[in-house]
């Protein structure tokens, strides 16, 4: 496997379910054989248990960074690891904090390249449905990730990662 798509979030907590919604939609598509989809719920550290030597881990998450709901945040490897653990986030230890801990404690993660798509939530109150702006963002991210995988083609080693950016 080359790419692990890892959803983070609680689908019973409103827009915190954005990442799992993206992953579920992608899992329904015919993905290349070198892609695997997993659901971490809110335990990013469970990556250690579900990772099967994939070279890249793409996290699909909700990210509360103070932008308008539905904003799609994109972070490449360096940017993701450099994000402060204090940066607004919907989960326990922040994603960057968890990744740093994984890389510190488990040398096998040192060569893994991480990147993330995060969707700005409108509400993380208990509930199963996504707010309209977040649902629309989920569709955008599904399309974008699927296109990125398609661009890779072959064994998944080709293609250039998208630049880091956010869009409303």
């Amino acid at each position: 496997m080359r790419v692990l798509l890892a959803a983070v979030g609680n689908p019973l907590a409103g827009d915190d379910g954005a990442g799992p919604a993206v992953a579920a939609a992608l899992a329904r598509r015919a993905l290349p054989p070198w892609v695997r989809v997993v659901d971490l719920h809110t335990d990013v550290l469970a990556l250690s248990s579900v990772w099967r030597n994939e070279r890249e881990v793409w996290l699909l998450d909700a990210m509360a960074l103070g932008k308008p709901p539905g904003t799609v945040h994109r972070a490449g490897h360096e940017e993701l690891l450099a994000m402060s653990r204090e940066q607004g986030h919907v989960h326990a230890l922040s994603v960057p904090g968890c990744l740093a801990w994984l890389r510190l404690a488990e040398p096998r993660f040192e060569g893994v390249r991480f990147r993330a798509w995060g969707i700005e939530p409108a509400s993380v109150e208990p509930g199963e449905s996504l707010s309209p702006s977040v649902a629309a963002a989920v569709r955008r991210v599904v399309r974008e990730v699927a296109e990125e995988l398609l661009r890779r083609g072959g064994d998944g080693t080709n293609g250039t990662p998208s630049p880091d950016s956010s869009d409303p």
């Binding site: 019973l12 719920h41 809110t42 469970a46 653990r85 919907v90 801990w101 109150e125 208990p126 509930g127």
Partner: protein, 434 residues
């Protein structure tokens, strides 16, 4: 000194989010509250109308960390409602699953959330500069808890193999023995951590008389599944009377209900409560750990809950090895599911989740559809006591260091973290802009 508000908008190192608001006039605390939303009412409503065999798939998604505890409590309640008795193998495997979940949860809380406070670091990552081996071991221990859940429950995060009446797939003896080997391998390092923590001073500014509540173990021993309710005041109740014992009430300042005893007193559930009430049942190195960490017996200082969790980690490792020995002494089978008839009924399941007593109750109709559900989580039970301890801590910290809001904030965070609130389970986020 003028009136002011000290706001901790979220507890950054606690599962989910939560906030603490403290209003102060001079050196007097006028108000303390954790600003949270109740989630369990939503989960109960979500379950009504679902079939009994859909419950565990839904309830395990409440929280990643507590999914095994919710799953086992729900299965116990459903089996109680349907009059199902499970085999000794299923009983022990579920016990192992709960131990795995407790190892995962306590390892995360003790090492990554609480210990940095005691060792003067602002995070587990900065703690790594001084205690790299400890930080590495913490992750390994947490992942061992995950692996136990994956082996027994079929998945690392949400158990899928746990069914009403038993298990769809029983782990092989070889898989169980591998886990036993790993558990035994963790024990010495864990005891080394006990020595480290025993040398740390526990601040006394949060200590005060506290009522503790825990489930009476189903057998003689320190166990997480219970058959009755006990308090540190000597009260004993059968499980069936839990609604009479635990009074949930709405409070004006919070979206979450607060729990009290019939007397109106708040109480604490969790590791410290279990040690206060049943610590004398610990054996082996867990007993050694308790004597080392609580030379004068577990007391009434919530900040020592982290120490109690460490004792329980030792117990979980030792008891896990014991359970594996028992399971591998049984004939190897591929599955263990009893046959049963679906019908109307009402049942209760209760166990000690990592953070304290957890209650599930379901009422089913003739077709096995859920017509009523009641879930009381440990964090919801601890809220009233948490606020009480926050107030006491704030008053003492203000008296000792008036005007030092940073010390006050850190102190309040330490108290809230000591309770190890699983806000994903019982409550949810708040962005308090006051």
């Amino acid at each position: 000194m003028s009136a002011r508000t000290v706001l901790i908008p979220h507890l950054g190192r606690v599962e989910g989010h939560g906030g603490i608001v403290v209003r102060v006039a001079g050196t007097t605390v006028t108000e303390v509250d954790m600003t949270i939303h109740e989630g369990s009412r939503y989960y109960e409503a979500l379950l009504v109308g679902k079939r009994y065999d859909e419950v565990q798939g839904i309830i395990s998604r409440v929280c990643a960390i507590c999914s095994a505890s919710h799953t086992v409590a729900a299965l116990m309640a459903l089996e109680d409602a349907l009059g199902i008795g499970v085999s000794a193998r299923v009983h022990d495997l579920r016990g192992l699953l709960v131990l795995g979940s407790t190892i995962e949860s306590h390892a995360l809380h003790v090492f990554a959330l609480a210990l940095p406070d005691f060792l003067g670091h602002d995070s587990v990552l900065s703690m790594a500069q001084e205690h790299r081996e400890l930080v590495t071991f913490a992750l390994q221990l947490k992942q061992l808890g995950n692996r136990i859940q994956e082996t027994v429950g079929g998945r690392a995060v949400h158990p899928i193999n746990t069914l009403v009446g038993g298990f769809g797939k029983i782990p092989s003896h070889a898989e169980l023995e591998t886990l036993g080997h790993e558990l035994r391998g963790a024990l010495d390092t864990l005891m080394g951590t006990v020595d480290l923590v025993a040398g740390l001073e526990v601040p006394g500014w949060a200590a005060q008389p506290t009522v503790f509540l825990a489930l009476e173990p189903y057998e003689e021993g320190f166990r997480f599944r219970g058959r009755g309710i006990r308090t540190s005041r000597g009260e004993q109740y059968p499980l069936e009377r839990y609604r009479e014992v635990i009074h949930e009430r709405a409070v004006a300042h919070s979206h979450a209900k607060h729990a009290t005893l019939p007397s109106g007193e708040s109480y604490m559930v969790g590791s410290l409560a279990r040690l206060v009430l049943f610590g004398d049942r610990l054996t082996g190195r867990a007993r050694e750990a308790m004597e080392r960490l609580f030379p004068d017996a577990p007391g009434e200082n919530i900040l020592a809950n982290t120490h109690a969790q460490l004792v329980e980690l030792v117990h979980c490792v030792e008891h896990g090895v014991e359970l594996i020995g028992r399971l591998t002494g049984m004939p190897e089978v591929r599955r263990d599911l009893v046959e049963y008839r679906v019908g109307a009924g009402r049942g209760i399941g209760a166990l000690e989740a990592p953070r304290g007593a957890l209650f599930h109750e379901y009422e089913l109709d003739e077709e096995g559809t859920i017509v009523a559900a009641n879930i009381i989580t440990p964090t919801a039970q601890n809220l009233a006591n948490t606020e009480r301890d926050l107030r006491t801590a704030a008053e003492r910290l203000l008296a000792d260091r008036p005007g030092d809001d940073e010390a006050l904030k850190l102190g309040l965070e330490m108290v809230a973290r000591a309770y190890d609130p699983c806000i994903s389970c019982s409550v949810h986020v708040i962005r308090d802009e006051r």
